[in-house]
């Protein structure tokens, strides 16, 4: 069980998937899949920064880095370990 990924998955499903909609999984494409658009990425980034007390530079908050819960977890771990 990966607690970080579970928190992220729960948040993404609560905030970016309409109630009653098909829930996303760990590897569901979020950005390229049109679930989270470039504007909404700003609020997702803000959540990560608030939740994990980290600061993600804009040049690393790329559509590729945010494209799935799995990838976001990698990004968060990189900053929480730093």
């Amino acid at each position: 069980m990966d607690e970080l990924k579970d928190v992220l998955l729960k948040y993404v499903n609560a905030e970016y998937v309409e109630e009653g909609g098909d829930p996303v999984g760990y590897d569901t494409p979020l950005i390229s899949g049109g679930i989270v658009d470039s504007f909404s990425m700003v609020s997702l980034k803000r959540f990560l920064e608030n939740q994990y007390k980290i600061s993600i530079p804009d040049d690393q908050a790329t559509p590729e880095a945010f494209d799935s819960v799995d990838k976001i977890a990698v990004l968060v771990r990189r900053f929480t370990k730093a």
């Binding site: 109630e19 909609g21 049109g34 470039s38 504007f39 609020s43 590729e64």
Partner: protein, 567 residues
């Protein structure tokens, strides 16, 4: 030689009958865009030509010939009629960029309905005000978006049907919901298109207003005359071209040039239904050998951000004509595109209200990076003195962009709001609400909006609409919304918020308010920055002075503050 040939020759004695003749239209004839974009092309012997290459999530692909879109639009038109919908009914399309959206527009037009495409990321409040204003009778949507419609259904007595195009049968349909599958429906080979004429309403596109709710811009079938010719002369679309317009049909570019322009010309176009990724976009261009690409400055700047190295992994040699729309294209982006693609993006300018390109850079014309270019033939554009509303007699002065009414794609009114429509005209000029100057060679140079409307990523957002939604949040006492500079989107939404007693500013509250607006209105309207303040600057009569807050954000002079309260 580009389609337009010589711009100087074209503007001499220009008449829109050039376009009418090419389309085989004579004044007084029946004019139905749905028929012109499908049946007519088939009658020209292009029934088997590909009209649409579509790619969606997970590598899904669909390909439609002109005969396919003719038959599919017949099928949609007949289905709508079978439900009791008739000419003049407003039929909303609320979908991602799936084939049903593009073909559905033609189907609605064929049965005489008025298409009302709405951006699928709209939240339930944004959706409600637009459906309520138009008294929409049906909405064509997908399962995931139908969930938003369900939330507001009780407040929409005019909405008779929610047509779900991807119903899987796993969960039951609810009140007023019906399923329709383009793939499973019996194809309708022959459908007599409704005999619309030049002034029959065609599309209703909603646009943000400064002080009121969104306005429904009413277009008519005669818009085809402008859209056909501008697509041909500006986007330089030719018989064997492969065209890609990246705009969503929820916005005017997506219908004028993502549906009507290319299909009335009978060319093949491509649609990529997915989020932005430089890799995916370049791969798409390479795969379909796209020759004409119409995109937006925000996307171009995002591609610039992704770097030049990635481009080397793709064969983009098919690209021939690049154009951009939605917001001013900065000179750096023009220079960059020349460097990496060997071609400059041509900046084009138009609005929801104008329906077709007004001022533009043309293929073959000398490009001045950062300039809007020159008026399209038949378009009389000028810069007015903001005090007298008379054209400046000298060049170089900044004033209001105004256009002499009379081109075919001009809006005919704002839906149920003729009063506001009439206010868009001064001294016989249509006032765009934008500011610019003209140089000695006749090139226009964009300066900015003349009002508080925010242009974010090429989409207009009303501060009024965001402020109205903000005060519905339990913590917000009052707010002021302004634009903030942004390197990718040109502008983004910023909110200044005064909290109610008992609430404390915090990072969590900041995020909660952002998400509140994103879900209620849309991701575009979500403030990307929130500043909590004790009080907002107001006039002595209590009016919030957005001007002061905006000037601070842009590092500009604050100007006259004599009416400021507590000054």
């Amino acid at each position: 030689m580009a389609n337009i040939g010589s711009y100087e020759e074209r503007i001499k004695n220009f008449d829109w009958s050039v376009s009418e003749k090419e389309l085989g239209y004579k004044p007084g004839d029946i004019l139905n865009i749905g028929w012109y974009c499908s049946d007519r092309i088939c009658q020209q012997g292009k029934a088997d030509k590909i009209a649409l290459h579509w790619e969606g999530l997970g590598g899904a692909e669909k390909h439609f010939t002109y005969n396919d879109i003719r038959r599919a639009s017949n099928t949609i038109a007949a289905f709508l009629q079978s439900l009791g919908h008739a000419s003049g009914d407003r039929i909303c399309l609320f979908m991602d960029r799936v084939p049903e959206l593009y073909i559905g527009v033609l189907g609605i037009l064929k049965m005489g309905g008025i298409g009302q495409p709405l951006y699928s990321a709209f939240g339930d409040e944004s959706l409600y005000v637009r459906l309520e204003n138009a008294e929409t009778s049906a909405i064509i949507t997908q399962r995931k978006h139908a969930l938003k419609v369900r939330k507001i259904l009780d407040k929409l007595p005019h909405l008779k049907h929610i047509i779900i195009v991807d119903h899987d049968g796993k969960s039951p349909l609810r009140d007023r919901e019906v399923a329709f599958s383009l793939e499973k429906a019996a194809p309708v080979e022959d459908f007599g298109s409704y005999p619309t004429t030049s002034e029959s309403p065609s599309l209703l596109h909603y646009t943000s207003g400064t002080t009121g709710q969104p306005k429904g811009v009413k277009h008519v079938h005669y818009s085809l005359i402008s859209q056909y010719l501008t697509a041909k002369w500006v986007l330089d679309i030719r018989e064997d071209d492969i065209f890609w317009c990246t705009a969503d049909p929820g916005w005017v570019t997506g219908t004028s040039y993502g549906i009507i322009g290319p299909w009335s010309l009978g060319v093949t176009q491509c649609v990529l239904d997915g989020g932005f990724s430089a890799q995916a976009w370049y791969k798409f261009i390479e795969k379909y050998r796209i020759s004409n690409w119409y995109s937006a400055p925000t996307a171009i700047r995002s591609l610039m951000k992704a770097g030049d190295e990635i481009i080397k992994n793709f064969d983009l040699s098919s690209l021939r004509n690049l154009a951009s729309v939605g917001e001013p294209l900065n000179s750096e982006a023009v220079v960059w595109s020349e460097k990496v693609f060997g071609k400059a993006f041509l900046d084009t300018y138009f609005q929801t209200e104008t329906g077709s390109i007004m001022i533009t850079n043309f293929p073959g014309m000398k490009i001045k990076p950062g300039s809007m270019g020159k008026p399209f033939p038949g378009i009389t554009a000028t810069i007015l003195d903001p005090k007298t509303y008379e054209p400046y007699s000298e060049t170089g002065k900044i004033g209001l962009i105004a256009i002499r009414p009379g081109w075919p794609a001009m809006m005919r009114t704002y839906w149920n709001n003729e009063e506001t429509y009439q206010k868009k005209f001064k001294n016989g000029w249509y006032m765009t609400g934008d500011r610019a100057s003209i140089d000695k060679e006749g090139y226009f140079w964009f300066v900015g909006r003349d009002d508080d409307i925010i242009n974010t990523g090429g989409h207009l957002v009303s501060p009024f609409e965001v402020e109205s939604a903000l005060i519905e949040h339990p913590a917000v006492a009052e707010s002021a919304v302004v634009s903030k500079p942004d390197p990718i989107n040109m502008e983004v939404v910023k909110a200044f918020v005064a909290l109610k007693p008992g609430f404390t500013a915090s990072a969590d509250l900041d995020l909660e308010i952002m998400n509140f607006i994103r879900k209620k209105l849309s991701p575009l309207a979500m403030p990307q920055a929130i500043e909590f303040v004790e009080q907002l600057p107001k006039t002595r009569s209590g009016k919030i002075m957005r001007r002061i807050l905006k000037a601070k954000e842009w590092g500009e002079e604050i100007g006259d503050t004599s009416t400021l309260e507590n000054d």
